[in-house]
Point group: D2
Chain length 331, copies 4
Amino acid sequence: MLVVMKNDATEVQVQAVIREIESWGYRGIPIPGAQRTAVCIVDNTGPVEDSRLLSLDGVKEAIRVTKPYKLVSRETHPQSTIIAIGDIKIGGEEPVIMAGPCAVESEEQALTIAHLVKQYGAQIFRGGAFKPRTSPYSFQGLGEEGLKILKKVRSETGLLIVTEATDHTNIEIVEQYGDIIQIGARNMQNYSLLRRAGRASKPILLKRGFAATIGELLMSAEYIMSEGSTQVILCERGIRTFADNTRSTLDLSAIPSIKEVSHLPVVVDPSHAAGRREYVIPLSKGAIAVGADGLLVEVHHDPSHALSDGMQSLYPEQFEKLMREIESLRR
Amino acid sequence: MLVVMKNDATEVQVQAVIREIESWGYRGIPIPGAQRTAVCIVDNTGPVEDSRLLSLDGVKEAIRVTKPYKLVSRETHPQSTIIAIGDIKIGGEEPVIMAGPCAVESEEQALTIAHLVKQYGAQIFRGGAFKPRTSPYSFQGLGEEGLKILKKVRSETGLLIVTEATDHTNIEIVEQYGDIIQIGARNMQNYSLLRRAGRASKPILLKRGFAATIGELLMSAEYIMSEGSTQVILCERGIRTFADNTRSTLDLSAIPSIKEVSHLPVVVDPSHAAGRREYVIPLSKGAIAVGADGLLVEVHHDPSHALSDGMQSLYPEQFEKLMREIESLRR
Amino acid sequence: MLVVMKNDATEVQVQAVIREIESWGYRGIPIPGAQRTAVCIVDNTGPVEDSRLLSLDGVKEAIRVTKPYKLVSRETHPQSTIIAIGDIKIGGEEPVIMAGPCAVESEEQALTIAHLVKQYGAQIFRGGAFKPRTSPYSFQGLGEEGLKILKKVRSETGLLIVTEATDHTNIEIVEQYGDIIQIGARNMQNYSLLRRAGRASKPILLKRGFAATIGELLMSAEYIMSEGSTQVILCERGIRTFADNTRSTLDLSAIPSIKEVSHLPVVVDPSHAAGRREYVIPLSKGAIAVGADGLLVEVHHDPSHALSDGMQSLYPEQFEKLMREIESLRR
Amino acid sequence: MLVVMKNDATEVQVQAVIREIESWGYRGIPIPGAQRTAVCIVDNTGPVEDSRLLSLDGVKEAIRVTKPYKLVSRETHPQSTIIAIGDIKIGGEEPVIMAGPCAVESEEQALTIAHLVKQYGAQIFRGGAFKPRTSPYSFQGLGEEGLKILKKVRSETGLLIVTEATDHTNIEIVEQYGDIIQIGARNMQNYSLLRRAGRASKPILLKRGFAATIGELLMSAEYIMSEGSTQVILCERGIRTFADNTRSTLDLSAIPSIKEVSHLPVVVDPSHAAGRREYVIPLSKGAIAVGADGLLVEVHHDPSHALSDGMQSLYPEQFEKLMREIESLRR
């Protein structure tokens, strides 16, 4: 960390900063400049709380030089993590496609869609049994009944299951029934849920919050990994901006940004970002071309009767087209 | 709701929209225009799921005319809600000042600050025992020990206590020890926690999420109220934008916007928004002038040794100045 | 346009709205709803100024149904525009690659880079002679001398030239020397410059402003086309958001969004969006996969001595790699 | 500037950075840390172009310690600037109120409104003769005829005139007719217009761009001042965010942020930020309480027939109320 002094800071103030740093067991080296002095902190092994320094007289700014995350960092773990579940490898050579409806609505609906997406090449079935909805009056998912349907989907189709846990109570059963536990964007900083997820026996798919920086997403993954988990999949799903052409602005630069600093795999959810099925195919192709390790796509055999997010769900024939186009991109 | 058809929509498509609307028990009235037709939904009493309509062929857009919230709405409850706790009235004539450290660090620290803020005119003491921190390695609060200190603060000073609950387990004890239960910005859409908060016996202070619209903040308050609570205080604390002069951009227009559509009281937290104590006094004055029902301000007797957020905490003498300036604004 | 009345609006207020609409020569059709009345405007051929309606008593909102642009709209011009300059076709089957340095610095620099990008497959040379810089003390470009160098680049390499005009005086000479006139992001709403550009004899490349919606970008293109030009190329170059991993957030959803409503070709500038060369190759591939009609990429043979934007300029060997990877994406 | 090396940077790479710095005539001092080395640049008097350094092998980041602006900076000019025009002092003890319609529509309209706002206490009349409009088909202002009307307003009422110049041609006559030349938000980075404004004989009111940081606003003011002007008034008018309750999000923290680093006066335009007259009074009071040096408010005697922005214009009686409430805040 570099502590920048105000340009009228006195020598006494600089010395007070150095003493404070020394009181923590580190060294502070003064760097006199033409206009102002800075003090460089050395010998520290972890991050330093800047708030104390910033409160000292004469201090203008404290600039972090080292990033605060460890377990998620590529500096500490240079090789990319590959998460293997049965035959499926997330983070490997081939992108992994997770497809299905926003919400599990009935056994018939889930099985119909599952057979279709399996046929066109998806490896993992997505579908929510517990739905976080903006309104308390909207459909909130089938709960455990939905999980039982997902179990049947797996046994009938062989597809793996990714499904969301929204709180302490349902994460227990999601862990039993699912193959990957999803933590949604709204819960990205629900630290208590993250800690519990870090003790789960299954991989975690962590979605980026609407307003989270890459650094914050990685710190949330750090919460999970700090409890012992090594299997975290990150997911870009769009951020809040002023732009009104899509529901959220899909930030595909997140893929190279994350891969530069972290070893964890990253997938993209183009459906929630776009909010409209017309944009899902082009954005999916963009995500794969940018280097995403997979996609999380909404597909519904009858979107006009979907209980949620029908507008952004692909028709099965569109999903087939998507799979073909991704395949030709990949060759 | 108004369903706007594409300009090449066929009559058959328009009729399909009308039949869909009728299948829900409402009426759909076609409105032919020069360039395109729209269908107006009437006879519905609550919100309509637009996703089904948007999925029908020929449909371009669905435009909501009625807002989706009820219990928080001023249309259903025209008088402003006043939350009375003992002698304190939040939402009444006088703004209510909640002041104290970011985190409770020790009995001595809490009591020292509490006596100071009480002396300068605060009515409620703020201080966290459970701290949601971006990093798992940062100080996370004293937990129940912190709550016991807060209880002592109340008995020694007479100040009421507002303190944060971050999950299902700690909300139980926060409800026992505190006078107002705070739900933080990161948990604004933790619906399971909101529902539990709605069953609490104490008023809830709900902070706006970093990326939440006013509509979403109100829907989260609706979650709380839908469980029976009538005592919700909203809190503007800054939103995420590109602007880099403050940690978040304080959106003071939220005050008149909320008061226009909702009867709930609104307070402002200038400390977290600004991220720097230099801006806390001017932003506090702005908040009161705009019409906020109160402030949530960080004060520390020794910010340079605060365990969190020292940079944005007022010195006691600054808090005294703030109280004097607000007083003179009010006269 | 749909005029939504407040839910306590009186019949007299509804009638006043209808009379106002009739005074403009249109018809207003009242649509009574369960909670409120709306008035639909029909028979208008162009956009209606909503401000008058919004000022009438009892009016809650005015909702536009028809978009305000005409000449840029795909509704009025269903076929995609292809801009042919010599053998190059922008908006056709093949993406067009425009590459070169941020600024023309010397004849030697420009020719060196031009020969390299030509060799690897670029069709158009980019390089600024007039540079809009945030600071008045930064290098502002070589001016007309730079344009003369660009002319030499064209005659020596056969590459077409795209270069920026920043005001009324330099657009005259940019028009003489260049093949495509660039209007930069900061000038996207410099309407006087847009009008002048619309009277130029050369195609215009219009960059999206940092904070412009797709609708505003299209309205700025409409300014150009309203002066007679039919040759406008749009350019996505990133928008301002809270995200701090790139300089701007590249909004690749802009491509399908623009193509849905407009017939104009769209290219992408990944260099300015990313701000770092490490992300330029993945974002370029993403842009092509999403459907962009071309790229505007910064390349410099010696980025560490570039007078501006060295950090985001590709090394020639990286540009070669980019061209190869795009080629393999395309097959 | 501090150059941070990657943690695997070699000694040879560090030496190359130092030599590069020395080649500019400055000194580079290496600061070895526990994890990585940084190099501090000293002896430079102005800003350093970081792009060259960032392009050297082994360099991770370059961190600016000194801000790039000079003439606008409070460090170089500690006393706050007061701009005196006749008896009016902008930046002095009293806030200055500029009020009037968005656009000058007719002599009758302008004089009617001017007499009203004068009566209630405004000191400066605002009204546009040249209007930058998003659509080329919207009313663009009366041009020079509008300026003649403004001249008449001044001679009849004694109010000073602030009016916008949008390009090189109209700034000449705006300078003749007006007392303060406004540069609008869309032109905040129209550097050619800024330079011309800096040579004008009248004070300049510079509006913050929709997506401009405080640093960029100050750099644009620096452009004006670098041409010789010492009379620049800054204006906060709202920034683009995801929030949808107002047209733009008014960033009142801009006031203390600007005043901390610059000596220039700052006024606030609550009308364009809010987009709705209901919020103009509270936001105006907030602006004054935060410390703004004045307001730019839209007032119209007949908003429902205004040719632009009727929705956000105050009725005269609302303006009277605003003036009374500000007066009582001030006491």
